[in-house]
Amino acid sequence: MKLTGAQALIKSLETQGVEVMFGLPGGAILPVYDPILDSSIRHVLVRHEQGAGHMAEGYAMVTGRAGVAMVTSGPGATNVVTPLSNAYMDSTPLVVITGQVATSAIGSDAFQECDITGVTMGITKHNWLVKRAEDIPRTVAAAFHVATTGRPGPVLVDLPKDVSNAEMDWYWPTSEADLDLPGYHPRTEGDPAAIAEAVELMLAAERPVLYVGGGVLKARAAGALLELAERTGFPVVTTLMARGAFPDSHPLCLGMPGMHGNYTAVTAMQRADLLVSLGARFDDRVTGRVSAFAPSAKVIHVDIDPAEIGKVRVPEVGIVGDCQRVVERLVAGLEAAGLAHDAAAVRTDTGAKARPGSRAADRPARDAWWAQLRAWQQEFPLHYEDGAGDTLKPQMVVEALRDLSSPDTVVVAGVGQHQMWASQYWRFEHPYTWVNSGGAGTMGFAVPAAIGAKVGRPEKTVWAIDGDGCFQMTAQELVTAAAERIPVKVAILNNAYLGMVRQWQEMFYAERYSEVYLSPDLPDYVKWAEAMGCVGFRADSPEEVGPAIEKANAIDDRPVVVDFRTDAFEKVFPMVPAGGSNDDIVVHPAQSPNRPAR
């Protein structure tokens, strides 16, 4: 069968099982947009290519499938650089197709030419410049394979216009060997000897913590993790990228560690004698000053990316492998040592009972550890002060959203104070219900990512919790949402400031506020929402919050934007100052007098 390169590309995407892509056409990608008219693939027309990339990310994060974005050459391609970088930092599988000028014009500074494979080399897992139409099916298949296996990540396929127009004989690669990837062999099975060593360390631990990162979600290992936690009775912390991997309501869950993590999660890691790191990467936002991080802990580090093991902290036991498989083998090892599953015992903090006479029966008691953890939880829960009079506290808005929405609601955040409050005060019960920009910290992520998440999970309510600064960066994608009938909901925590920067200037720059004020009324978010085809309304005071959320939850035929006018001076606590030790965690001022001396 003879096809043009453009037809072959679309047919390749169809064969790959792509159901939706996000994009915006232009000169160099024009040939590919013609066969889209005849394709089963839904195309969502964005208003800016950055939106296409973030939508593809949101889609990927809730579905676990690769998100697909398609844009033209030059500025179309450079506009998708931020989403690529974001997806690279957060290991999100993304396949981005860019148009390119004709092969004969490459290197001539042609109109809308940009060396996008060169630009994105450092922020993609891999990229390809396709020079022959016959390479298209193989390249597309390889692109999806690389994006979704091993440590997932974004890839880019650059397609020159003449290659799209050239004819080729259709084929589809039938095996991995056809993909021409001689240097790509992700390791998924953990080394049995290392797993056995890890089991021994787990049996010997007195103050253990399961340090759970986004890799657990990527590996779809939430079920295996629950089994491991309940069998060991170890407390669990879930990083910003892992919220939802373990239910917040579970008695073993300590919540989020890190710069804005809660006191107990942060301090448990500091005092631990064993950290079992599962798909986490010892990010600086989690460790604080590395030299002072978890000083007495032995470390078991499980990651599918061999380069993460020892990159920041040299572990006692490093295990390269898929988190699900490795956790299952750890469970099997514990079982063999005599540790049975006992979910009921877990709920009384004693952990599972070991078979009498087994090695596990000799493991040290962890009652003192749990008593300490419970004491910290009692003394230093997340805290904010109710506002005086009509002052609307942003945390209260998040709590109201949480309490008035179904527990399987997908929550999407941008970057800044609102993101931290969303992560702290939402109660995540299910995996893949939290979408945010972690590693890259991309402001403006929430609106387009929420749209992509809703496309991926149309049956679920999707709430973007956004800041006013973030919202202004990508709000125009609500036009896309209205036009495409993608009914997302956006809660703007409007404090009229670039709030996190304001917080740092208050705390670390002697309250010298430099270029952080935005204004609560400019733009008028309600009118702006209406102009974009959404429903928009406003809540100024605490008593307006509940009704506003219920009104928003009742609308399901259009996007909704709610402008919550929140306290501009509220700060995120706890906080570990940048570069500081996690021991120097700053709790809410109202809790400080109780703080024990170290």
Binding site: T117, G118, M121, G122, K125, H126, L129, V146, L181, P182, G183, Y184, D305, P306, A307, I309, G310, K311
Partner: protein, 170 residues
């Protein structure tokens, strides 16, 4: 780049088999640059199999742990395999070409020096010689130092290439 002569312990040789495709060298160089890994020298050439090229990279293991450099390199999709060669377990060669200014009175002396090192005179001009030596990097260092006694007009080293030392059963 620092001279590879100072402090051998800082060095390690990586022999990296890569796909012979456009842009592979840029990917390797970009990785070193963005991760802050230092390269002392880099030699690239196709292998006997035209699908692959071999890079011989002398890395500075003070800039990052060797293991980290190897693992990050190995993540590049076009990198097929990496052999780590500790200097004592490798045979290494490097080639130097140098043009030196030499008057008639000193010409014999320099030719004698080249003879001692088993180098070659590869080009002769009225008042200049271009000389060549291929040897282990330490010897090339010595040769370069001795040439420094004359006026060096231009000098180019290739960077080292290396293969594992052969082992014999006891």
């Amino acid at each position: 780049m620092t001279s590879p002569g100072d402090g051998e312990a800082r060095h390690h040789i990586l022999s990296v088999l890569v796909e012979n495709k456009a842009g592979v060298l840029a990917r390797v160089a970009g990785l070193f640059s963005r991760r802050g890994f230092n390269i002392f020298s880099l030699a690239v050439a196709p292998t006997d199999d035209e699908r692959f090229s071999r890079l011989t990279i002398v890395v500075d293991v003070e800039s990052a742990p060797l293991e980290q450099i190897v693992q990050q390199l190995d993540k590049l999709v076009n990198v097929v395999s990496i052999s780590q060669l500790a200097p004592e377990a490798a045979v290494e060669r490097e080639l130097v070409l140098a043009t030196v200014e030499v008057d008639a009175a000193h010409r014999g002396e320099i030719i004698e020096l080249i003879g001692v090192f088993r180098g070659e005179v590869v080009n002769v001009g009225p008042d200049r010689l271009t000389v060549m030596l291929a040897d282990d990097p330490d010897t090339v260092d010595d040769f370069e130092r001795l040439l420094g006694g004359y006026r060096i007009v231009e000098l180019q080293r290739t960077g080292r290439v290396a293969l594992p030392k052969l082992k014999y059963a006891d």
